[in-house]
Symmetry: C2
Subunit: 320 residues, 2 copies
Amino acid sequence: MEKQHLPKVVIIGGGTGLSVLLRGLKQYPVDITAIVTVADDGGSSGRLRNELNIPPPGDIRNVLAALSDVEPLVEELFQHRFNKGNNLTGHSLGNLILAAMTTITGDFVHAIKEMSTVLNVRGKVLPAANTSVVLHAEMEDGTIVSGESKIPFSGKKIKRVYLTPEQIEPLQETLDVIRNADLIILGPGSLYTSILPNLLVPKIGEEVSKAKAKKVYICNVMTQAGETLNYSASDHVKALYEHMNESFIDTILVNEEEIPEHIKSLYEEELAKPVHYDIDALKELGLEVITDHIVCYENSVIRHDTNKVAKLLYGILQQK
Amino acid sequence: MEKQHLPKVVIIGGGTGLSVLLRGLKQYPVDITAIVTVADDGGSSGRLRNELNIPPPGDIRNVLAALSDVEPLVEELFQHRFNKGNNLTGHSLGNLILAAMTTITGDFVHAIKEMSTVLNVRGKVLPAANTSVVLHAEMEDGTIVSGESKIPFSGKKIKRVYLTPEQIEPLQETLDVIRNADLIILGPGSLYTSILPNLLVPKIGEEVSKAKAKKVYICNVMTQAGETLNYSASDHVKALYEHMNESFIDTILVNEEEIPEHIKSLYEEELAKPVHYDIDALKELGLEVITDHIVCYENSVIRHDTNKVAKLLYGILQQK
């Protein structure tokens, strides 16, 4: 099938969750665009962001790698993280390549397009904005925590998140792909620090809300301490609605597989528990609820099973 | 012409001099192999060598870039040097890529071959050894200076240079290409710190000496403080012979173009002068002497004119 006739899928989130999903989804005949947050300020990305004055490359790097179709060695090279050396420790080579390309071209989006060509990326990767943004959280007690990497460690409950600077321009291309999408997928990923930093970029959230596409939210399997402690599935959805001032999600994908006790106990050490799927509350919100066994385990880390989730999403596209 | 029928040219030296020459030579129908020193221990290369325990990548990087046939942006990326950022300053991206690839594959030569493919390199690039080597200089006063980057700053006259460890294995491939070469070119490059660190790798110097190929030495245009202060052209040749215990050069290429006064005075600030071409002494050494106008100027830096030198060298090949 030619690309212009493929169903158009837009996926919105951060690096890790998106890249897990994209590895499965790219196997299907769909035209993928990933919209990726630029609010990261921790680790290698945060250092490059501060030192070179460029948008944080890490989330974009993971998504490019997930969508790439090159020899394994080239992908391994792009994802290689220096773990020796006083000064390079923690930097991944792909981040440094994106940083150098951004410095040379003076344009993060241009750098991403060039790297997409080199890595033979199956789809389009767009940053939520062509500049860094700062994520802030207003806590229930009224205090403000600034910086994506600091928010989960405040020990307080988040009331809302917002971005600065106030004037952030999304790419016109991003608004266009959202408007023309056949399916819009939110997540999987951290609610406040991966998904919302995209939707809060002016015009992106509004464009998603009013898009004709079916909107599917892939709910996290586990709660996250410092973000979604004790959140049920409907609490996740309500948080999205409150930030957008609108009910805009059509379908939620939830895992119904019981998490093994030994893995649950590992997660409990980080105050994370399986998200409670309050199906009735979700239906009251008017959502179509799809439940299935959609997780797998990588070294005791719970992940969405990319093949199963991709198959479900492709099934939704075919229903249309 | 198919590659197996092209004349085989082997070029021996360090990064900067070789890369200047190779940009011209790769335009000719020749099968190029560059043999490149691994004695560098300064700058970005030195830091990577020490911190990651890999051979110094910088000279190899320059030669790969010179022989590459890719879009200008990709070459610019490979050669990009980070000049901001506390920790990355001075590292060039190509060095970091070679470092990462060496760490992943565990093998510097393998990393170079992979990068040669990615960069569409026109020829073969071989390190003089697959490990780092340390260059030492015994000075006229008997003191020893260790480390390539320190040698030019001792303020003393070099008597001889040598490598450690004593057991260094060249690649069998390197010995084979030298043996089968139609033309072997030494330089251009620093006598003691770029050319000799190759010839002093056990077996490489011997193999060059006894090779059937015509051996051409491209003499430096200017003397270098700390290395070849006041050296005439024949002093350069004698230093090579003393280190190899043998007269092995057939032809010397020397510049006869007068260096403009304003450039000479810039070089004099660094105690560098035009090399005196003592033609009679060179002929007494049994050398064929080729003189021509073979320099050009890049921002007041004297370089061999890559097109003129390449043409002369190709002419030598055709005489055979």
